[in-house]
């Protein structure tokens, strides 16, 4: 694989089918843009907004947290032998994942993988004997390996599967969590999927004495070694009033909770579509036309221009939603067969189902935008931080207004923007030539710039308050300069600080290098053990771990600028 190989996201690989698909998708994106209201296509072409998964516009929705119970073939499996029942559970979910991945564009989530497996285990009448648990463990391991290795989407990309777990205290649920974590931790560094999200909750797994504290400790050990799991902080301010069993992360950061049409839950629901607004672009426009004006005036103008852009994005998302409703339930054969959404596909119109989904308006580059408006970093002073928060609070208020006025589940998303992180600045640099666009990437959502040099705990203090505002999902990262090796205390310190500062979802990153000859892991150029030059490098991109060679241009630039702590040793 040549070094320069680049795709729209880091999980893509070459294949004959994938090449044909990509060529078709390119044409399809153009056709769709041409079919859209010119107000929409112009903003996209100009790089002021980005319509994600454009080829799926009017064809399908984005992602789904599976309802695992509705269409599960209990009756058929119950008639089989005990081992076959366990194999059958995993066969079922492999079928669901592989079919669903061909009928939706984004991620597939399990909200409580441990408890869902336990429920099915007992419903199938399985005794929790040693023999059955052993089969369960081996099936869980092979399920993870299958997700990791799969390239079945045209050979081009794998499945974006998220396993949320950690709350189940029953014997089988705990066994499932332990099996998942132990296998992920102990498997080679080339095992980088699925995304595993550990749900941290007081009284369940948070502190010594909690029934699942041992599983939390195992999770932290795994994070130290492989950056996975990430952590969903159930007691943190944005999540404290949500039933933690109905809260989970899907894909890279998507959060679906509030629902105008039913109970607050993520289960059986997903994000229909999202579009990202380029905040630095708006700031660049203001910067050019408002020389000499004071910061307050510039911020006012910025919000006004964002409002205009967001109004168009709102209309675009409604148009996309309406086109989706124009399809037939038969266009969703996997959903039709297994009823994976909260409402059955068989007896309802698509509107009855998809109105439960969210329409997300995302943003990228708050850091650069605030720098342009104030002349400083948003973490440099309380005043600038207040301006940054005021902007995001304003965006949320407007989006809550859309939600009321349009009676649709609009939400605000802190976009990871894997592809647009490079696309937006390259367009902006051509138009404005400003230094903020000169790095080759824009900073993820509301993140502090990657080379800030802030103490990780301070970084969380600045980013924390944004989490409550981004109800469509977001993540904060702490970036360390070296592999954590056995430093589990660093992980628990980060988790505790994140909880204190209102972070909803947390990831811990560090450069992870593995010698392909002797399998030693750490951070190095050549293997310190056997001297081999064949090193496999894994970095996190947009919520998922990926092989560094396949990063997009924008993310490669960002990785080069990530400036963590120095890791000096005597």
């Amino acid at each position: 694989m040549p070094e320069e190989t680049q795709f729209e996201n880091a999980s893509q690989r070459r294949s004959y089918m994938g090449t044909v698909f990509e060529a078709g998708a390119k044409l399809r994106r153009r056709e769709i843009l041409e079919s859209l209201d010119p107000r929409f296509s112009k903003l996209h072409d100009d790089g002021k907004i980005h319509i994600h998964n454009l080829e799926a516009y009017g064809q399908t929705y984005n992602c789904l947290m599976l309802n695992t119970v509705n269409g599960f073939p209990i009756g058929r499996l119950k008639a089989t032998s005990e081992p076959s029942r366990i194999f059958g559970v995993f066969d079922h979910f492999k079928v669901v994942i592989s079919k669903l991945a061909n009928e939706q564009s984004g991620g597939i989530g399990f909200a409580n993988f441990d408890e869902e497996m336990e429920t099915l285990f007992y419903e199938l009448g399985l005794p929790d004997s040693d023999a059955n648990l052993r089969i369960l463990r081996e099936c869980t391991e092979s399920f993870i390996d299958w997700i990791n290795g799969a390239r079945e989407r045209g050979g081009r990309t794998g499945y974006y599967v998220s396993l949320n777990l950690g709350l189940g205290t029953g014997k089988v649920a705990r066994f499932v969590t332990r099996s998942v974590l132990a296998h992920f931790k102990d498997s080679s560094m080339e095992c980088i999927k699925p995304n595993i999200i550990f749900k941290v909750k007081k009284g369940v797994n948070h502190s010594p004495g909690d029934p699942n504290f041992d599983l939390f400790c195992l999770s932290v050990e795994s994070t130290c070694k492989k950056m996975v799991p990430t952590y969903l902080l159930c007691d943190s301010r944005p999540n404290a009033n949500v039933d933690s069993h109905k809260l989970a992360i899907m894909g890279c950061r998507t959060r679906v909770v509030q629902n105008l049409f039913g109970e607050d839950t993520c289960i059986g629901r997903g994000n229909i579509a999202f579009t990202t607004i380029n905040l630095p672009r708006i700031a660049l426009e203001i910067d050019r036309t408002s020389r000499g004006k004071d910061t307050a005036e510039k911020v006012r103008m910025f919000k006004e221009e964002w409002d205009k852009t967001a109004d168009v994005v709102r209309d675009l998302l409604i148009d996309r939603y309406n086109r989706l409703l124009g399809l037939d339930p038969d266009d969703f054969p996997c959903n039709l067969r297994f009823n994976l959404w909260t409402k059955p596909f068989t007896s309802n119109s698509l509107e009855e189902i998809f109105k439960n989904g969210t329409l997300a308006i995302g943003f990228i580059g708050l850091s650069e935008a605030v720098r342009l408006l104030t002349g400083g970093e948003y973490y440099a002073s309380e005043k600038n931080h207040a301006i940054a928060l005021d902007i995001v609070r304003h965006m949320r208020r407007v989006i809550d207004g859309y939600r009321r006025d349009c009676n649709l589940n609009f939400s605000l998303l802190g976009t990871s923007a894997e592809f647009v992180s490079g696309r937006f600045p390259s367009i902006d640099y051509k138009l404005y030539g400003n230094e903020v666009s000169n790095n080759g990437f824009y900073t993820n959502s509301f993140h502090v710039r990657v080379d800030s040099g802030l103490h990780p705990i301070d970084k969380l203090r600045f980013e924390g308050p944004f989490h409550e505002l981004c109800n469509g999902g977001c993540i904060s990262y702490v970036e360390f300069g070296s592999a954590l090796l056995k430093n589990t205390e660093a992980v628990t310190e980060v988790i505790e600080a994140a909880e204190r500062y209102g972070v909803s979802y947390l990831g811990i990153n560090f450069p992870s290098d593995t010698c392909l000859k002797c399998n030693i892991t750490g951070t190095f150029d050549d293997c310190p053990n056997c001297g081999s030059h064949e090193i496999y490098r894994v970095r996190r991109v947009s919520g998922f771990l990926e092989d560094l060679r396949f990063f997009t241009a924008g993310k490669k630039a960002e990785v080069a600028h990530r400036r963590p702590n120095p890791g000096l040793a005597t």
């Binding site: 705990i457 090796l485 430093n487 030693i520 951070t523 702590n565 000096l568 040793a569 005597t570």
Partner: protein, 148 residues
């Protein structure tokens, strides 16, 4: 009292002891190990003199999680000043990184420390995969476990 410093890193290290640590690089070292990561800390005349009381106040305000590693250079070259600092931060979790062997670390300092890393850096024994040490001959000791 004054202490000669090289620099302070507040960005949070994860390789200089457990947890996220602020690292104080003390100036001056006579060991001059081959392959040293911080040769700029060797020459004591190139350091910056700081009042220990001011330094204690600064560490209190900026090392937000009260975890400190005193590294260098060789911190024990300025034993008296380092004693002032550890005495001034009794509520901190402090690690001392010295190139001397454990037997040579003054016993009256140990009571103020949580961890100590001892031993010269030996380039041939370099390791980036053992926690908290630079070469495999060095030892990282949890003093609470030892004294428990």
């Amino acid at each position: 009292m004054r202490i000669i410093l090289n620099s302070i890193d507040y960005r949070g290290s994860v390789v200089d002891g457990p947890g996220i640590r602020t690292v104080l690089f003390v100036q001056g070292c006579e060991l001059k190990c081959r392959g040293c990561q911080n040769p700029s800390t060797w020459d004591i005349s190139k350091g910056k003199a700081v009042d220990t009381e001011d330094l204690i106040a600064e560490l209190r305000s900026k090392a937000v999680n009260k975890r400190l590693t005193i590294s260098g250079g060789e911190p024990l070259l300025q034993y008296q000043a380092v004693m002032e600092i550890v005495r001034g931060l009794p509520d901190f979790d402090i690690a001392l990184y010295t190139g001397l062997e454990f037997e040579s670390v003054p016993k009256d300092m140990l009571g103020y420390l949580r961890y100590v890393k001892v031993g010269k850096y030996i380039e041939e024994k370099r390791s980036t995969i053992l926690p908290y040490v630079g070469s495999s001959n060095q030892r990282f000791i949890d003093l609470r476990e030892t004294h428990a």
